[in-house]
Structures are given as C-alpha cells and as structure tokens.
C-alpha cells in the first residue's frame, strides 16, 4: 500500500471522485466516437476474464441441469405420451420431406442451379450474458483460433439468435437479434415472400422494418434470413410474426436464448464475401453498409 502524508491524502480524497466521474463521462463519449478502440479494449478484457467466466458459469449450468432433470422425472409419463404422438406425426413429415428433397434435387438438376455454399457449424458454450436491459449480447468460448469470424450467424435451439460482433482469440461476442443495434435482412414467408429488415429494440420481440407499403403481413407467418448482402446464409429460421400494429409487425424468435447453454456458429464461407471489401480499403467499406447489418457500440 502507498503511504501518503495526511495533507496529500485529503487532497486525493477530495479530488478523486469528481476526477473519476469526469473520466467515466469521457469514456462514454469515447465509446460513442471511436468504437474500434473500445472494441479492442472489450476484446482484451473478454479474453482476460474468459477463463474465470467459463469456470464460474459451470455451477450455474449444472444447477440448471439438475432442476431440468428433476422436472423431467416428474413429467416423464406425460412427456413420453407427447413424444410418441410427435413421433407419429413426424414420421409422416419425414416421408413428405424425402419426397420434396428428391423433387428438389431433380428440379435443381433441370435448372442447372449454382450450388449454394456448404455450411459448417461450430458449437460453443455461453460464458457470459449481458445483464441489464440496454445491451443484449453474449460471450462464447470460441474465437479466431477456432475459426470464428466477425459477422457470422449464430444459431440457438430452434433458430437464429444473433451474429458475431467481436472476436478475440478464444472468445467472441454475439450481438443478439433483440439488441437495439441489430439489423438483419429477412424474408417474411407469407403468400408471397416479402423482404424486410428485422430490427431489435431491446425488447424480446424485434420489429420488422422497411416492408413494402401496405404489405399484408399476418400473425403466424414465418420469418427467415434472406441472405441478401451475402453475410448470412439464406433460409435460417428466425421466428414467427407474433403481432401487427404499434411500431410495426413484431417477431417472436424461435430460439430461447436464455435457456440454451450452447450455441452454434454458422460458417458460410465469408472469405468469399469479405476480401472484396477489404480490398476497397478497410476504412471506407464496412460489412454493415453492404448487409444492412448493424453498427456497433
């Protein structure tokens, strides 16, 4: 500990609080002005804390599994009945899917369609979750060393949860699609597919924006990624339209982020899309201007 003379000590005690307040305000302004520098700081801090966070999130995950296990035991009979019912229904769907897949392959052959990029997946564990209502992001325990790159889509159980917004060596930040800064190009699959942007507003139900005027969006219609902009693969399931009116049609995401301890990062061969941007000069061309994806904090 540093020993200070009493006079100096009173001086420090008097001036430290206002100085630190000023410093905090300066940092807020800085994080608004220079997101690159703050992003680098965040990456460093996430990297530094990730081993501890990874370790500490284990007992919580274990506890949750215990509770889930107990409730599974209680519901085992009812769950079994339901699964048997689902199984019968799904077998019928399987037949339908196989028939459609065969037909699809045949039609593709006839049309000489350019094959899509093959997707590859990488699973990662969620190690931190932003508390608070104003920043909706996750930290996962995979980074550039594992092949995770910025902009990649992230899937949870059931559908899209967000995209990679920052990458460290062994840790990455996922910007959730519910975050205020998230913008994802989508199709609303109604009678005819409609293009729109799915915009987060920190609520659990993101809003569809930039729909064609008087677009007939109805409750229950499915929303999927459109792949426009080339950053996201097309046709990843996102959710269903849960309500129309107010700020616009809202979407209930399929993926329940808070209940999944693991997510999957989708590698869509981004190298094909990004070198062109990099060649145009890193400053001028940002991926977001192309994809309509969001700006960053």
């Amino acid at each position: 500990m540093i020993r200070l003379s009493p006079a100096r000590r009173t001086a420090v005690q008097r001036f430290a609080p206002p100085l630190l307040v000023l410093l905090s305000v300066a940092l807020i302004v800085l994080s608004k002005a220079d997101s690159a520098l703050v992003g680098a700081l965040r990456r460093g801090a996430s990297e530094f804390f990730s081993p501890a966070l990874g370790l500490l999130s284990r007992p919580i995950e274990g506890g949750a599994n215990l509770v889930r296990g107990a409730s599974d035991w209680v519901e085992v009979y009812r769950r079994n009945e339901q699964l048997l019912r689902d199984n019968r229904r799904l077998l019928a769907w399987r037949q339908a899917a196989l028939a459609l897949a065969a037909q699809n392959a045949e039609l593709r052959g006839l049309l000489k369609l350019v094959p899509e990029h093959a997707l590859s997946y990488l699973s990662a564990r969620v190690i931190a979750d932003s508390g608070g209502a104003y920043a909706q992001s996750l930290l996962i325990d995979a980074g550039s060393a594992d092949g995770v790159r910025r902009g990649e889509a992230v899937l949870g159980e059931g559908g899209l949860v967000g995209r990679i917004a920052g990458v460290g060596r062994h840790v990455a930040r996922v910007l959730l699609l519910t975050d205020f800064n998230s913008r994802i190009p989508v199709f609303v699959e109604g009678k005819e597919p409609l293009r729109a942007i799915l915009a987060g507003d920190n609520s659990s139900y993101p809003v569809l924006r930039f729909l064609p005027a008087k677009a007939p969006v109805e409750k229950g219609e499915q929303v999927v990624t459109s792949g426009i902009g080339g950053l996201f693969p097309p046709n990843l399931p996102i959710g269903v339209v849960s309500g129309v009116g107010g700020a616009g049609p809202r979407v209930a995401p399929y993926a329940r982020v808070s209940e999944t301890a693991y997510v999957r990062v989708v590698d869509y061969g981004l190298e094909h899309a990004l070198p062109a941007l990099a060649a145009n000069g890193a400053r001028g061309a940002r991926p977001r201007s192309r994809s309509g994806a969001s700006r960053e904090r």
Binding site: L23, S24, L27, A45, G132
Partner: protein, 176 residues
C-alpha cells in the same frame, strides 16, 4: 516479547488487512454475478443490479473501505464484459456513492425498513438515469417497461443481499 506472540500479532495484522478488502471483493463478486448466464427465460433484461446493492450497503456502513477508484475499475470491468457503453456503470456507481455519502448519517441505527426505503429511492433514480443515458447514447427513446421489472427485482432482492453482506461484515470486520 517472545517470538511466538510477535508472529501471532503479525498473523492478526495480515488477517485484518485481508478483511479490509471485503467490501471491494464483495462488490467485485456482485459484478461477476450480474454477467453470469442464468437459464431463466427473460432474465437478461431484468438482471438485478447486484453491484448497486453492494455499493449502497458498503457506502452506508463502511464507506472508508470502498474507495471511488475501486468502484471505477469494477464499473469499467462490468461494462467491458456486458457490452454496455463503456463508462456507464462506472459513472452510475460513482454518482450513487456520492449520493449515498450525502445522506448516510440518516441511516445510522435506524430500522431496516428505513434503509430499504433509501435503497428503493436510489435504485429508482439509478434506473431512470441508466435509461436516460442509454437513450442519449443510442439517440432514441428506448423501451422502459423492462426497466420497471428490473427495478422491482432489484428492490425485492435487496433485503437478502443486505442481510448476507451485513453478516459477513459483522463476522470479519471490526467496527469502524
């Protein structure tokens, strides 16, 4: 003085010094607690402000052991991990400390309900402040109703946090 009593005294001194770190340590633990993923639906939006609870408690009872520099560092650390605009939590904690320092003498030797009421007022102000700051940062009027639930949960959990912190304080720290 024999060698034994000397080393005993030294041991006590080390113990006492470690105990003086208790407020900083528990506040840091509160910050970590608020970033850990908890598998409860909708929990993210309403994560209780654990750090604010610790800051309130220690600033009322042992402000000498929770210096502003520690609050600043803990706040910055929390912002870096959660992805909130850097500096917001630090600013919030520092302002909360200043506010509580101004009124803490009213809380001395009062019943707990009185202290709780003080915390309710502080966390209400803190939630409005955070909402305003984030709205300003994003230059848009952000949703407020999630914040109301967050406030309710924070206020409801405070008695337990206060009890636990008070218990550790009495067990480990001598009265100031």
């Amino acid at each position: 003085m024999t060698l034994q009593t000397l080393s005993l005294k030294k041991g006590r001194r080390v113990e006492a010094a470690a105990a003086r770190l208790l407020p900083i340590a528990t506040t840091a633990v509160a910050a970590i607690l608020s970033v850990l993923p908890v598998p409860i639906p909708g929990y993210r939006g309403i994560t209780p402000a654990f750090t604010l609870m610790a800051v309130f408690q220690w600033t009322v009872y042992r402000p000498d052991l929770l210096p502003p520099a520690a609050l600043f560092l803990i706040g910055i650390g929390e912002d870096l991990i959660t992805g909130a605009p850097l500096g917001t939590t630090a600013l919030l904690l520092l302002l909360a400390r200043t506010l509580v320092l101004g009124v803490r003498r009213f809380f001395g030797r009062r019943p707990f309900l009185f202290v709780w009421a003080g915390f309710i007022a502080l966390s209400g102000a803190a939630m409005v402040f955070l909402w305003a700051l984030n709205s300003l940062f994003d230059w848009a009027l952000l949703e407020f109703h999630g914040t109301v639930f967050r406030l309710a949960l924070t206020v409801a959990l405070f008695p337990m946090a206060s009890f636990l912190l008070g218990r550790t304080q009495r067990a480990l720290l001598p009265a100031s």
